[in-house]
Structure formats: structure tokens, C-alpha cells
């Protein structure tokens, strides 16, 4: 939906706050330093630098790290938990697993609410929603008084099976409000209506924990924007790749936990649509991590099984909210190469970070990093890093890699290649995990590469994976903000309703979907969003009776009857077979019903630009680049903005722009389209 509207997206990253705007069909890009003491300063700096007339901004879309930072740095607010009698310890029990299997001194993650800050109340609802023990209202009042008197301003409420019957949680809110009217109260069922008490409780707890900070931040930013004469609507980017009003974001801040990275995935989905290839593997590589996600037919992949701070050695903390399914690995430009206990070479997850950064930054870093390896193989230009703002120190890079070369008895150049091969193989495995391992054929997909380091590795990985083509969009370093420019309002609803999925239950399922639709419409109506264009998508999580895990399957109809159920089951069989290599004749069960409600927002469109020139004219220099097994080649170096759209460029080639470098292998060619995307095949 392209309309005459102006939109600004601002994404706060670790180092820079990126701004992308479309004004009168032209793309405007700006960067300011991120200001951790008050993130709003950086946002306003970026707005001021870009000299956009604030009065014309209709929509301001914001991705922010304020939530994830509060969690990572543990500086949220002390939170009280109200829960069902007999179940306060779910936060300590967790799922009781030992991911670090051979560590006989394993320590579990510290709960965000210590045991002494949890209050139990007598009440009990069973798995079908029937009340077994009525809520003890006096006990709730007493607990609320204790919580108030102990100085808590933020309270999480999580009662057993509240996803099935929320009445007790709702009543708790009213009772607490009588006693402690100023408290922030989060009810678990309002964030998720799925079962699994530890996951849901932790979600409510983390929402409560960050709520005061997020509230203050968004309130202050709104004020600053207003002072800055930005009077358009303000939206926050959520982890489900949709946006929501600041008002809603303040109530459900935990939904912003992956606010930034999902912008990149959403952007990749939209690039795929622009170029007519809606099946996309997104690939975003920055300084510390690489992230990849799958986009099918233009839709990003969402799930509600998200774990914060989890790794092979730690359980982490669950969040049962819709988050774009991103596979993230510790592989970035700053990732450090090292030799492990087993004598094998590893790259990452430790990173030299922004400071001191790779050895070649000359800021005192001495560990060998991926960026150093790229420099030593001629892939990076020492004199054009950040557009030449920073000279790279080749000698420092060599010194950093020397010990590694000595350890394996190879040359520094060989070691540099080795580091690149290992990091590329790690990333290729992650890319295969989201595609091949889930039964997709990579040849049906295009890869959209972004992030500061993404374009440098993309052509290598695209070939390794065997994708149709690799696309490097414009402004790959600010791509998350670019993606945010194109988002719609989005709300996801889910209900756990375990039971048979067949003709007999079609009416019941239809009824639940109808309730969810009402909930969706009411929610948007309360925010004064027009319901005319509301786009509703229904899916069900299905499994063969007896299985636990499910396959999310679309329901392609507005009402569910016996024949729709039949079609959906057929689709499930196909998806199960595609993903897991087999199908069965067994009965099918439904676990969750899901409804996604989009409210499309008007979006500006970037005007295409054709550049007619000969490739030779865009060459700015030639340098020797080592392509490993493909040999060392004298390679033409192009300035990206000068590339013609009318004629392909034959590899090998290096395409430079201030924030990024794109590498093209000897047997590859590059086409540039009118929107500025590079197509490598």
C-alpha cells in the first residue's frame, strides 16, 4: 500500500541509532551515536541531523533496545509475584534440565523474583477452566497490602490454567487496585493464552520487571518528539515484526524485547516481495552475531517458544510471546578465532566488540578476528573503512593471526583463510538449520543479506547454500530501520485448546476463532484503528494424536466447517512430511489456535532510479584479492552508488560503500535493479 505519506523509522542499536525516512519518494539515511544514559537523546540527535521537516512526519516508528537492556543489565524494577497456592516455586524449578551436561557444578539461572517476593493465594482452576477452589479474596487483599507496604510498584499475577479461564486473574487485578491503585499489574493471560506455567509466569514477571522503565522511556520520548514538533502517530516495533501504539507498548513492553533485529527480517521479506521472490532466507551479520530467519511467501516465521540468554551451557529464561523465529549464532566481524580444549579451531562466540574491536582497528585489540582475516585476504580495503573515516592497520591484523598460524604450522594468509572458512561454515550450518533442516529446498529461496559484515560473506554463503540468488539491499548497514519503515500494525492471538481436530469439533473450533476475532476487533477499536482493512489470518498447531510437538498449519477460510478441517488436515500431512520426512494415518489433534490481525498502514514508496553507464566507468581501483581455493585475482573495485542498472558486472569484484563491502566471486555476476538492490548469482 503506497500512499503519499511520510514515515520515519528510528532503530537504536548498540553503537549507532539509525534513522531511515522516505520523503517525497527519496530515501533519507542518518546515523547518530547511541546514548545509553538516555536513549531519547540519540533519537533526537538523529532527527536533527537529518534536517527533515518534523511537521510533515505522519508516522514515527521506533525500534528500541531499552527493554532488552533493562533485562540484560538487570536494572528493571523489583517485582512481586502473586500466584496459586502450592506453585510459587515454578521460577526456581524451571524445567529442571541440565543443558551443560558434563558440568557437575551447574548453576541455574537466578529468578527475576526471589522467593521472598512471591505471594501464594488459595484458588484453583482445572485444565478445562472449571473452578475447583474459588479465589480467596481476603487472601488477595492481604497479599496486596503486604506487597504495597513492602514497597513494590510492579506486580505480576500468574495463576494456574488462567489461559483457560482468566476470571481469577482479572478479579485479582480489581482487588489489588482497591488496595494499591498505583501499582503496575501484569496478568499472565493478557500476554499469552498458552499453557506451560513456568514459561507464562516468567513472561508476566519480565513484563512487570521492565514496565516502569519502558513506561518512563516511551513517555519521555513522546514528550521530546512533541517538543521537537513531531506530531504524527508514534509506533513501537514489536518482536512479532509488527508495530503497536506507544500506549499499548507501555502496557506490554516485553513484546519489544527483539524490537531491533526483527526489523531486518521484516525488511528482507519486503525486499523479496519487491523483486518478485517472496521466499527468502534473511542473513544479517554484524560485529558480534549473525542472524538468519526464513520468510515464506512474504510471511515471516513466528513462534512463541523464545528463550532469552540461553545457550548450549545455560537454560536462559523463557518468554511465551510471539517472536520472529531467528537463529542467532556468535559469528560477526569482531568474532575471535581460538583453539579449544579439543585442539580444534573455533571462531566466536566471543567478540572483540566495538571496543577495542578487531586488531586492525588499532585500538589495542590483539585477538585475531574475522575482520582481520578479511583484511589480510584483500577483501576489505584498509583505506575505505567507514568511508575512510578509519584507517585499518594491516600489520596489527597480521600480528594477531600469527600465533594461530604458528600453532597449525601454516602461513598467516592460510590461517586467515582458515578463519574465514570456519566462520563461513558456522554460518552456513545456521542457514541450513532454518532452511534445509526444516525440509525446504534452498534453491527455491533468495538470500537477502544485511548488517555491516553481511554483504562481505553473503556471496560465499549463498553459493554454499545453493540459493537462487543473493540480494544485497540498499543501506544494508541500516536495514533494520529500513524494515521498520514498511511495517503494519500487528497483533497475535493464541489459545491453547487441546483436543481432536475433525469434523465433529469443527463447530467448536469455529466458535473459538470467532471469539478471538472479536477480541482482535475490540482491541483495535479501543485504539481507534479502522477495522475496514483489518486482515485476519488463522492457523492451528496440529500434531498426530500422541505427539507433543506441533506443526503450524494455515486455515485458509474465514469459517471452519468439516470440509475446511479436511483441507487443513491434508495441508498438515504435507507439512509434516516436508519437515520430518514422513506422514501417518493417525488421528490429528489441535493444540493451539492462532489468529494474526494486521491493520495495514499507509506506506511511502521509494522511487526507482535507472543509472545508464558502463561498468568500467564505475571502477575506482583494482586490488589483489585472495579467494582461497579459487586463487588470487586482480579484482576491480566499484563504488556502489556509481553502479549502472543497465549492464551486469562480472566477478570477481568488490563493491564498496561507506558502511559495507560486498564481495563477488570470480564465477559470479551482479545485476543492479532500479531500487538499488544488488543481485548476485
Amino acid at each position: 500500500m503506497a500512499e503519499d505519506t511520510s514515515r520515519v523509522a528510528v532503530d537504536i542499536g548498540g553503537t549507532f541509532t539509525d534513522l531511515v525516512a522516505v520523503d517525497d519518494g527519496a530515501l533519507a539515511l542518518e546515523k547518530a551515536s547511541t546514548t545509553p544514559s538516555n536513549f531519547a537523546d540519540g533519537v533526537i540527535d538523529a532527527l536533527e541531523k537529518c534536517e527533515l521537516d518534523p511537521g510533515i512526519i505522519d508516522q514515527f516508528v521506533h525500534g528500541t533496545t531499552v527493554v532488552i537492556n533493562a533485562i540484560t543489565e538487570r536494572n528493571g524494577d523489583d517485582t512481586a509475584l502473586l500466584t496459586t497456592e502450592g506453585f510459587r516455586d515454578v521460577l526456581d524449578i524451571t524445567r529442571a534440565n541440565r543443558p551443560d551436561m558434563f558440568n557437575f557444578q551447574y548453576q541455574k539461572p537466578e529468578p527475576f523474583v526471589p522467593r521472598r517476593h512471591r505471594w501464594e493465594v488459595p484458588e484453583r482452576v482445572d485444565q478445562s477452566g472449571d473452578v475447583l477452589t474459588p479465589l480467596d479474596e481476603d487472601a488477595v487483599r492481604e497479599a496486596a497490602r503486604e506487597i504495597r507496604d513492602a514497597g513494590f510498584d510492579t506486580i505480576a499475577v500468574s495463576l494456574l490454567h488462567s489461559y483457560q479461564n482468566p476470571a481469577h486473574e482479572q478479579r485479582v487485578r480489581d482487588l489489588v487496585a482497591d488496595v494499591h491503585p498505583d501499582a503496575y499489574v501484569t496478568l499472565s493471560h493478557e500476554l499469552t493464552k498458552e499453557y506451560r506455567e513456568y514459561e507464562r509466569t516468567n513472561t508476566a514477571v519480565l513484563n512487570s520487571y521492565v514496565r516502569p522503565i519502558a513506561d518512563t522511556y516511551l513517555d519521555s520520548l513522546e514528550g521530546r518528539l512533541h517538543d521537537h514538533a513531531v506530531d504524527g502517530n508514534t509506533y513501537a516495533m514489536k518482536s512479532n515484526a509488527g508495530t503497536t501504539s506507544f500506549e499499548q507498548a507501555r502496557r506490554r513492553p516485553v513484546e519489544m524485547v527483539e524490537s531491533g533485529p526483527v526489523g531486518g527480517v521484516y525488511g528482507a521479506a519486503r525486499v523479496g516481495e519487491q523483486i518478485g521472490d517472496p521466499d527468502v532466507v534473511s542473513f544479517d551479520m554484524g560485529g558480534t552475531t549473525a542472524k538468519t530467519s526464513l520468510v515464506q511467501d512474504g510471511d515471516v516465521t513466528i513462534d512463541t517458544d523464545y528463550w532469552l540468554e540461553s545457550s548450549q551451557r545455560d537454560e536462559g529464561y523463557p518468554l511465551k510471546i510471539p517472536v520472529v523465529d531467528i537463529v542467532e549464532i556468535g559469528a560477526g566481524g569482531g568474532s575471535i578465532a581460538w583453539v579449544d580444549q579439543g585442539g580444534s579451531i573455533n571462531v566466536g562466540p566471543q567478540s572483540s566488540g566495538a571496543d577495542p574491536g578487531p586488531a586492525c582497528y588499532g585500538r589495542g585489540g590483539t585477538d585475531p578476528t574475522v575482520t582481520d582475516a578479511n583484511l589480510l585476504t584483500g577483501r576489505l580495503n584498509p583505506d575505505y573503512f567507514l568511508g575512510g573515516e578509519m584507517a585499518l592497520d594491516t600489520d596489527a591484523a597480521r600480528d594477531a593471526l600469527e600465533p594461530l598460524a604458528d600453532e597449525f604450522g601454516t602461513s598467516v594468509r592460510e590461517a586467515a583463510h582458515g578463519v574465514l572458512r570456519v566462520v563461513n561454515s558456522n554460518m552456513a550450518n545456521a542457514l541450513k538449520q532454518v532452511s534445509l533442516r526444516r525440509g525446504h529446498d534452498p534453491r527455491d529461496f533468495v538470500m537477502v543479506a544485511s548488517g555491516g559484515a553481511g554483504p562481505l560473506h553473503a556471496a560465499t554463503l549463498g553459493r554454499e547454500l545453493g540459493v537462487k540468488e543473493t540480494v544485497v539491499p540498499r543501506a544494508p548497514g541500516q536495514f533494520s530501520a529500513w524494515g521498520m519503515l514498511l511495517t503494519d500494525l500487528r497483533k497475535d492471538f493464541a489459545r491453547t485448546n487441546v483436543g481432536s481436530f475433525d469434523a465433529d469439533t469443527a463447530a467448536e473450533i469455529d466458535g473459538i476463532f470467532a471469539d478471538m476475532e472479536t477480541e482482535a476487533r475490540d482491541a483495535y477499536a479501543r485504539e481507534d484503528v479502522s477495522l475496514d482493512d483489518l486482515n485476519l489470518e488463522r492457523t492451528v498447531d496440529l500434531r498426530y494424536a500422541g505427539q507433543e510437538h506441533t506443526v503450524n498449519t494455515p486455515v485458509q477460510a474465514e469459517t471452519v466447517d468439516a470440509s475446511v478441517v479436511g483441507e487443513t488436515i491434508e495441508r498438515f500431512h504435507d507439512r509434516h512430511e516436508q519437515t520430518y520426512n514422513f506422514r501417518m494415518d493417525d488421528a490429528v489433534e489441535v493444540v493451539n489456535l492462532r489468529l494474526t490481525a494486521y491493520a495495514p498502514m499507509p506506506k511511502p514508496e521509494v522511487s526507482p532510479v535507472e543509472t545508464d553507464a558502463s561498468p568500467a566507468a564505475a571502477v575506482k581501483s583494482t586490488r589483489s584479492v585472495d579467494f582461497g581455493t579459487e586463487g588470487v585475482h586482480d579484482t576491480r573495485v566499484f563504488e556502489r552508488d556509481a553502479l549502472p542498472t543497465t549492464e551486469p558486472i562480472e566477478g570477481p569484484a568488490v563493491i564498496e560503500e561507506p558502511a559495507c563491502t560486498t564481495l563477488v566471486h570470480p564465477d559470479q555476476t551482479v545485476d543492479v535493479d532500479a531500487l538499488g538492490n544488488l543481485h548476485i548469482s
Partner: protein, 600 residues
């Protein structure tokens, strides 16, 4: 994947980067098998408990890559493949074959069903995929198959003695029908069998890709190099451990059939680059099912060995070359047919816990005090009136872990024999099975495991049948009479147990072994797991930490006073003066007593 015939021929080494890329790709194939099986299986003990393992071996049964949810399977796949090769011969396999086994050759109880399938590249056998998973029911005298009172392996289910379930890609319907006819849960079994087979197909496909991509010689050499490098590193690591001979002895509570404790002992010798474990002196196999076959004991010992050497490394066959294990045949830790092996985890976990006891005081940076140890597995079943069908759920219970210097033990964590095993949420349990929980909580106030660093807390769960009839419970809770051990003056834990609270008269029965035990409509099953052992004298615990424990309801004021010598006022504040005099008044009553089992 080094084969015998070309060992001499291959001298060309593979560069370390290629080695890494190749072994990563093989590991990635094993992990994909693992993921697929877990996401499609029908036994909750597979999909939640992750009681299964998937791996890839070379043509000589050496494991080149393995993914497991539980360390207890580390190494058993090797035995499965080796025995299959021995039976059929190297030339006895065709592409598309799948061998099924679960008897003594598999090396663990009959519920653990293994599949082994050859991998061919250009008509050449290059290796095997193998997997092993706990199926909910494989027949036998009681539902769920394993029991605590079987006196022969023949009571514990049907045995699949290495037969081909698939031949040349075609299913052998005779075998298939026998499998399905011999389980109480045919739907679940069919699902698990299909899921396991499909995941192996995917694994083989990926392995073939790796061979085609890098070439057979390169892959074999990369794997051989990886084995050698692994061995070398382990040897170097063992050199950092203190040379010496260390001993420990202990008892298994009983065998489930009689009440007699079962004596076990080990002598550990660390000598330069090798570790030797000798279990001579251990009691013979018992009449009841706590016996561990050799492979099961070796698996748990290997997990322990990895924990004290290179806990973060991805293991391969080379790692275990410097480990020598002697377990006399016919003992409870190396049982032979027809000894029953239903609760083999009791024996195998003890095989690891013994050297752990012997070495803990000497390796304080790697080992904790004793933990609740037993898998504490339960089988709960009956008739689900809501769905009008029988149900059966098999689960391990998590418990308290031991403390170590500077660290309190972890609360409620699965035992050393389990790993990335997920405890099922109450809401999922109640939705899926006709059960209702009254509590799911830390077992506090804690009355055991005290120490300068406190043992972790156990779990207490109360549940009852809900809209069900004919309810019963089977449970094997070892470490009930001989609780988890403390170190350096830290107190022992309190032991695992089950209580059945009868509604009729409110009477409480206490047990550690139950088989097919009735659970009436209003009876409550209370499962309680032990606290872990403490580390160091409780009187040395920082009073502030004692106060925190009190504020978090871990301990009572009385415990603070009597066990820790810390006085806490009625208002909940530390009384420093009273604490000083309590602590000066003397050491705790049991101070100075040696810890059980530590005989050196």
C-alpha cells in the same frame, strides 16, 4: 572414518580447518537426527525427557558424532553398532537395512530400543547411523515394562535380538507385527518406531552429502585426526590431575525384591596420562532389577570421566582411550542375562557416583558433593475417563544437587544420568493425563545437606487421579536409605522417597520402590526428592547467607541456630552477638566424622 584396509595407505593429513568443517558437518547431521526424532516421537519420555540419543559411527563402530539428551547414553551406541557388525558381518548389510535391538546387546533396559542402519557411498559401507530411545511400553509383566520387582529379564518385555526391521528399504512386516503385538501402547510404539526410522534416513542423507562434498579419504582422515587430537588432549588434561589411588565404597539401598543393601566399591588410579577404575569387590548381580549391564555402566562412567577432564569438548572415541575400566562379570555393575535390568539406572548411576565420591575432595573445582542420584522414575497410568482410553506416562523426577566450594548446590535439577531433560509442566501434565496436582514446590524447610555451601533443595509434588479409574503408580527411587553424601564436613542429604496418602483413613505409606501400586480416586501420591550434600562445615557459612536462606523460607530459625550457629531475631534480623557466642560454643555435634564412602 578410518577403515582397517587403508590405515597404512593414508598418510596425507587434512588441514585443521578442513578437519573442523568436516567434523562440524557430521555433528550437525547427528543433531538434525536428534531434533527430528524429538519433535515427532509419541513417547513423552522421548520428546520431553529426551531419553534418547542419535549418532553416526564409522564402519568399525567408532562414534564420530553423537547428539544426546542424556549423558547416560554416551557410548552405548558404539556397543549397538559393534554387536550388529559382529552378527551380520561387514558384508552383511545392504542399503536400506535397519537393525532393531533392545536386549543385552543394546546394553540398557529393554525399554531402550536401538536402531542401526548402514550408510553407503557409491556401494561402499562408510559407517552407520544409530539411535536409541526409551519406548513407553515393550510388553512384560506390568504396564510400562520396567518394574522394581522383576526377577528375570524375561518379565521386563519382549527382546528384539538384532533383527532387520527393514531389508533393502522394505519393511519386514513379520518383525513389525511382532513389535506392535507386544506393546500395551501400539499407537505410541508405531509412532516412535516411525519417527526413529525417519530421523535415521535424514541423518544418512546428510552424511552422504558430507562424503560427496569432501571426498571419502578426506572425511576418513579428518575423523581419524580428530580422534587422535581428542586422545592427546585428554592425556594432557589427566596430567594436571593429582596422581594417586583413591577408593570409595557405598551401598545401593536394596534390589527391590529384598531389603538387603548391596555393596559396591571402586579403586581409582590416576597415573600420569591414564585413569583406571577397578570395581572388584562389588556384590554379585541381584535378584531384583537394579542391575546394570556393562554398556550402561560404561556410559555413566564415561560421562563422569568427561566431567573431570574436558566437560566442554565435543567427545569422540579418542577421548576415552586413556580410560581403563575393570568390572568383574556377573556383578551388579556388569550383569549378564537373565538378570533383570529394569531399573538399571540405579546400578549405572552408582558406577559413576563411586569414583565421584572418591575424587570430589581432590577435584573441588570440577566436582560437587553427592546429589540425589537416582533417576527417580515413575510410571503412572490408568483409564482416562474423559477420553475413554488407557494412559501411561513415564517420567524422571528432578532433585537437589551437591554443593561445591563457593557454590550452593542447584535446586531441583535432573540427575547426572539425565541431561537436557525437560520436566513436564503441570499444565501440560493435567491437560494430557487425568491427573491433578496439589503442589509442585521446593521441599522446604530444608533439613539436610547443610554446609558452608548448602546442598540444593529437592522437589515435592503431590498429585492425584482426576477423572480416571484404575490408577496405579510404579516408581524406582534409589538413594533413599543411603542419602547423598556431604564433603569436608558438609552434611548428607535426606534421601528420595514416595508417600501414598490414603484418603480413606489419611494414613501415609512411605516407599522407595513401587510396582503397579494402586492409586485410588482420592489417594495422593507425594513424590519427594532429596536435598544434595553440603560442602564444608555449616558453622563456616556466612551468616548473611544463612539469613537470606531464612528470608527465602529455605530454612527455619531453628535450623539456622542449631545447624549453622546463626541467631536470627523474631523480627527476622541477624543477631551478631548471639551468633558469635553460638559459634564459639563449639563445633556442630557431628563435626569431624568422616563422610560415608570416603575411605582414603
Amino acid at each position: 572414518m578410518q577403515s582397517e584396509t587403508d590405515t597404512q595407505a593414508q598418510t596425507a593429513s587434512v588441514d585443521p580447518f578442513t578437519r573442523e568443517v568436516v567434523t562440524n558437518a557430521l555433528q550437525s547431521a547427528a543433531e538434525e537426527m536428534f531434533l527430528n526424532l524429538g519433535r515427532t516421537a509419541k513417547s513423552s519420555v522421548i520428546y520431553e525427557t529426551l531419553d534418547y540419543a542419535c549418532g553416526i559411527t564409522d564402519a568399525e563402530a567408532n562414534v564420530v558424532a553423537q547428539a544426546n539428551g542424556v549423558p547416560g547414553f554416551l557410548g552405548t551406541l558404539k556397543f549397538c553398532v559393534a554387536d550388529a557388525i559382529e552378527k551380520f558381518g561387514r558384508d552383511g548389510f545392504d542399503p536400506g537395512d535397519v537393525v532393531l535391538l533392545n536386549d543385552y546387546h543394546g546394553g540398557t533396559h529393554l525399554n531402550d530400543v536401538a536402531m542401526v542402519a548402514p550408510i553407503f557411498v557409491d556401494d561402499e559401507l562408510v559407517g552407520f547411523t544409530a539411535s536409541k530411545a526409551h519406548w513407553t511400553d515393550v510388553g512384560g509383566k506390568d504396564p510400562g515394562s520396567w518394574t522394581t520387582d522383576a526377577t528375570s529379564v524375561f518379565q521386563e518385555g519382549i527382546q528384539y535380538p538384532m533383527v532387520k526391521l527393514y531389508e533393502g528399504g522394505d519393511r519386514n512386516d513379520a518383525v513389525y507385527d511382532i513389535v506392535v503385538a507386544n506393546t500395551r501402547m501400539p499407537d505410541v510404539t508405531r509412532g516412535d518406531m516411525q519417527a526413529q526410522k525417519s530421523s535415521m534416513d535424514v541423518g544418512a542423507e546428510r552424511v552422504v552429502d558430507v562424503f560427496n562434498r569432501y571426498g571419502t579419504d578426506t572425511v576418513r582422515q579428518a575423523v581419524a585426526d580428530e580422534f587422535d587430537a581428542g586422545e592427546q588432549l585428554v592425556r594432557e588434561e589427566i596430567q594436571t590431575l593429582p596422581n594417586g589411588t583413591y577408593t570409595a565404597e557405598d551401598y545401593l539401598d536394596d534390589d527391590g525384591v529384598t531389603d538387603d543393601p548391596v555393596h559396591v566399591e571402586v579403586e581409582v588410579t590416576i597415573r600420569d596420562e591414564t585413569i583406571e577404575l577397578d570395581y572388584t569387590g562389588t556384590d554379585p548381580a541381584t535378584d531384583g532389577p537394579i542391575n546394570s549391564p556393562y554398556a550402561a555402566s560404561v556410559s555413566d562412567i564415561r560421562a563422569f570421566f568427561q566431567a573431570i577432564t574436558l566437560p566442554e569438548a565435543e567427545t569422540n572415541e579418542g577421548f576415552f582411550r586413556p580410560l581403563e575400566i575393570t568390572i568383574p562379570e556377573g556383578t551388579v555393575l556388569n550383569a549378564t542375562k537373565p538378570a533383570p535390568i529394569g531399573t538399571d539406572w540405579e546400578g549405572s548411576a552408582m558406577a559413576a557416583d563411586l569414583p565421584w565420591q572418591a575424587l570430589a575432595p581432590h577435584l573441588p573445582d570440577r566436582l560437587s558433593a553427592g546429589h540425589f542420584l537416582s533417576v527417580c522414575a515413575t510410571i503412572v497410568g490408568g483409564h482416562d475417563e474423559r477420553r475413554d482410553e488407557d494412559f501411561l506416562v513415564v517420567e524422571p523426577q528432578p532433585g537437589g544437587w551437591g554443593a561445591s566450594p563457593g557454590k550452593d548446590g542447584a535446586d531441583v535439577l535432573v540427575c547426572s544420568g539425565d541431561g537436557d531433560t525437560l520436566e513436564m509442566p503441570v499444565e501440560v501434565m493435567e491437560t494430557r493425563f487425568p491427573l491433578l496436582f496439589d503442589q509442585f514446590a521446593l521441599d522446604t524447610p530444608q533439613e539436610a545437606g547443610h554446609g558452608e555451601f548448602r546442598g540444593g533443595t529437592g522437589l515435592v509434588q503431590d498429585y492425584r487421579m482426576y477423572n480416571a479409574s484404575g490408577g496405579f503408580i510404579t516408581a524406582g527411587f534409589g538413594r533413599s536409605k543411603f542419602p547423598p553424601w556431604g564433603v569436608e564436613g558438609g552434611r548428607d542429604g535426606d534421601g528420595n522417597y514416595i508417600e501414598i496418602v490414603r484418603d480413606g483413613d489419611g494414613s501415609v505409606e512411605r516407599h522407595s520402590n513401587l510396582t503397579n501400586h494402586e492409586l485410588g480416586e482420592d489417594d495422593v501420591a507425594r513424590l519427594v526428592t532429596s536435598a544434595g550434600g553440603g560442602w564444608g562445615d555449616p558453622f563456616d557459612r556466612d551468616p548473611e547467607r544463612v539469613l537470606e536462606d531464612y528470608r527465602d523460607d529455605y530454612i527455619t530459625r531453628q535450623t539456622a541456630r542449631e545447624e549453622y550457629g546463626v541467631a536470627i531475631t523474631e523480627a527476622g534480623e541477624l543477631d551478631a552477638a548471639a551468633t558469635s557466642s553460638l559459634r564459639e560454643a563449639g563445633a556442630t555435634p557431628t563435626d569431624g566424622e568422616p563422610n560415608r564412602g570416603e575411605t582414603q
